[in-house]
């Protein structure tokens, strides 16, 4: 390679990482559109969650087939990326297999990358079959109609192309290494348990052409990786990065515990205090936007809920375990997360095109993306939360939106209103007198 190659490579890297960085910044800004919530307590438990659930994939293997195949792809992704380091150094400095000096270690490394690459190809083919041939219910679900279905397949195709290029690159390299007396800079390095079977493809092809192909595979491989990295932001695949913060900042309380709204606590305390002077309330900052009870749009949700939406990879385990969805109701926890992300993106674009300020667009997460019918179908059973391999909580969003419907709009279904009136009047959800509460004692 001449200098031109190195410069071209450097420019490519800068473009690839630069665009990626710009999009990451956008995601961070969008996540910060959410309200504050303190999730910095108990770092020990949080680290443990991240280590077990994100790094250790402990919740993935609850469904063993998908779980084990996923671990292969995940390990492949992480480990083969060590190879990326070599590619970057070679590219920038014009070296060739710079780590070859590691000797046997290098052979073991390259050999295990190859085996992993093959396993990834097998896993990805199985995933593709499950989605497109077997059509598992959660993948054939209408939530994924249109782009989400294609998106999932694009990711799989990407993996196939990247792994194939990696193996082809090695195979052509091996072919040149094997030329008696050596060829150009192709020193003997690495072990090739998989690509040795591809290598015969190059028999009878001129060595110069094989070298050209080798360079082509090398370039396409790195370009492919950069494209893949930049596709993440537009795809459902951000979980490969966000699974880590998402499990770290997830709710540590028992699943049954719903937060108590502090703004409500203050008001209820004042109502119940006989000495409180209702007019003595300290005048709050007049410019402050009056806080809303519950959530009707993404700005009312907290930042962890918004990060949840970006993290969701649309696997649909939540929806496949949701009692409402199983029995044909419109509610799908996965769709709640997808809708939330779509709305965040819409708000983000609005901000981008209005010089950093959100201009109201007469739309909201409620109604335009998520309907009350879906929200009222939830039994709060936590099956979706339990299922999520990366600790996303669709339930917390559903509950916050119900709060808005009830406390801001008084828009509960009629029987729910009756239930609440009963609690208010006689301390039970039914019309029984509180004075009769102990009658059971003497009944036979």
């Amino acid at each position: 390679m001449g200098y031109l190659d190195n410069i071209l490579f450097a420019i490519l890297l800068i473009l690839g990482f630069g665009y990626f960085y710009a999009n990451i910044k956008k995601i961070v800004r969008n996540i910060n559109l959410g309200a504050d919530v303190n999730r910095k307590d108990n770092p020990k438990a949080r680290l443990k969650n991240m280590a077990l659930i994100a790094l250790g994939q402990s919740k993935m293997v609850k469904r063993p087939v998908a779980g084990i195949l996923h671990i292969i792809v995940y390990a492949g992704f992480i480990i083969i990326n060590i190879e990326l380091l070599e590619i970057i150094i070679d590219g920038l400095f014009g070296t060739h297999r710079v780590f070859a000096s590691l000797g046997t270690t290098y052979d073991v490394l390259i050999g295990s990358f190859e085996i992993l690459a093959l396993l990834v190809l097998v896993a990805v083919s199985t995933f593709w079959t499950r989605r497109n041939i077997i059509r598992l219910k959660r993948f054939a679900n209408k939530d994924l109609a249109g782009f989400p279905k294609n998106d999932a397949n694009y990711i799989l195709y990407f993996e196939v192309v990247l792994m194939s290029l990696f193996l082809l690159m090695n195979a052509s390299d091996l072919h040149l290494q094997n030329i008696p007396g050596g060829f150009s800079h192709f020193i003997k390095a690495g072990s090739f348990p998989v690509s040795q079977f591809i290598e015969p493809l190059f028999n009878g092809v001129s060595s110069d052409f094989v070298m050209l192909l080798n360079e082509l595979f090398w370039w396409l491989h790195i370009i492919g990786i950069l494209i893949f990295m930049n596709y993440l932001y537009f795809s459902k695949h951000l979980h490969i990065l966000l699974a880590f913060p998402n499990t770290y900042f997830a709710d540590l309380n028992p699943k049954g515990q719903l937060d108590n709204l502090e703004s409500v606590t203050n008001e209820v305390k004042m109502m119940m205090d006989p000495n409180a002077d209702p007019y003595a309330a300290a005048p709050v900052n007049e410019n402050a936007v009056p806080s809303k009870f519950g959530a009707s749009d993404i700005q009312d949700l907290n930042w962890v809920q918004l990060m949840n939406a970006y993290t969701c990879t649309e696997c649909g385990r939540c929806t496949s375990a949701c009692p409402a969805n199983i029995t044909g109701k419109k509610l799908s926890p996965r769709k709640i997360m997808m809708a939330t992300r779509d709305r965040i993106e819409e708000v983000g674009k609005n901000i981008d095109s209005n010089k950093g300020i959100f201009v109201p667009d007469n739309k909201s997460l409620l109604n335009d993306y998520i309907t009350p019918e879906e929200l009222w179908a939830c039994t709060s059973c936590n099956a979706c939360v339990e299922e999520c391999p990366v600790n996303i909580s669709p339930l917390s969003i559903i509950m916050d939106m119900r709060r808005y419907l009830v406390m801001e709009q008084s828009a509960a279904p009629t029987p729910i209103n009756a239930m609440m009136t009963n609690i208010e009047n006689n301390g039970a959800p039914w019309q029984y007198n509180q004075q009769d509460r102990l009658n059971w004692k003497n009944e036979n």
């Binding site: 699943k255 375990a321 029995t327 099956a383 509180q434």
Partner: protein
Amino acid sequence: MSEVLIVPTMAEMLSQGKQPEVLFWVGCSGSFDDRAKKITKAFVRILNRANVSFAVLGTEESCSGDPAKRAGNEFLFQMQAMTNIEVLNAYEVKKIVTACPHCFNTLKNEYPELGGKYEVCHHTEFLKSLLDDGRLTIEGGQFKGKKITFHDPCYLGRANNVYEAPRDLIQKLDMELVEMKRSRANGLCCGAGGAQMFKDSEPGSKEINVERTEDALETKPDIIAAACPFCNTMMTDGIKNKEKEGEIKVLDIAELIANAQDL
């Protein structure tokens, strides 16, 4: 059968200068629902038999606020919670037992932040501790060898990770416990939670309680055990829907223990 249940109230206890070991939080279902009242009484019979010093709030008890909170009415929930906390704190309550997983969850997890800090346990946990301490013996009696399946209440299981206490009690009854395909953390909801108990379900292809009853029927049980008054109602309705009420009984764990010993 005329029975004498000893059910002191906190007010009565206080007037005698006594503090019970535990407060039995009966809950709205346990107080008013005809089916759930049987569970309440079965539990009291066991408490009486084990000589547990307990008391109820009686007319001073009010809804925990759970259905209001899950329906989205945080105001009503906190009003209920703070009123209840005032009463509980006035009686200096330290420990609470309840047969309703919804009350259990709310009292245990959501009251502390509002000033109500108690040791809260579900009646299956409490019964298990009586058993472990040798204060209660359990025999299979009429249920010995019968086939039983246990439906995990969401607010006991997933919500609070209590899976073993009810199962340990069933084992003590010498019954054959057959798990449903969806059980423990994978258990399917009965359909009542999140205030669904009080409204019609949204349009769909099936009722949730029917789906869950089918899970239970697959195990060909003699008895479906529940540990929640709402689950009990939903499963009982499901069994009626399948016209199996002649063959299969839906019983609470407390009823199993009380009935096994003809209490």
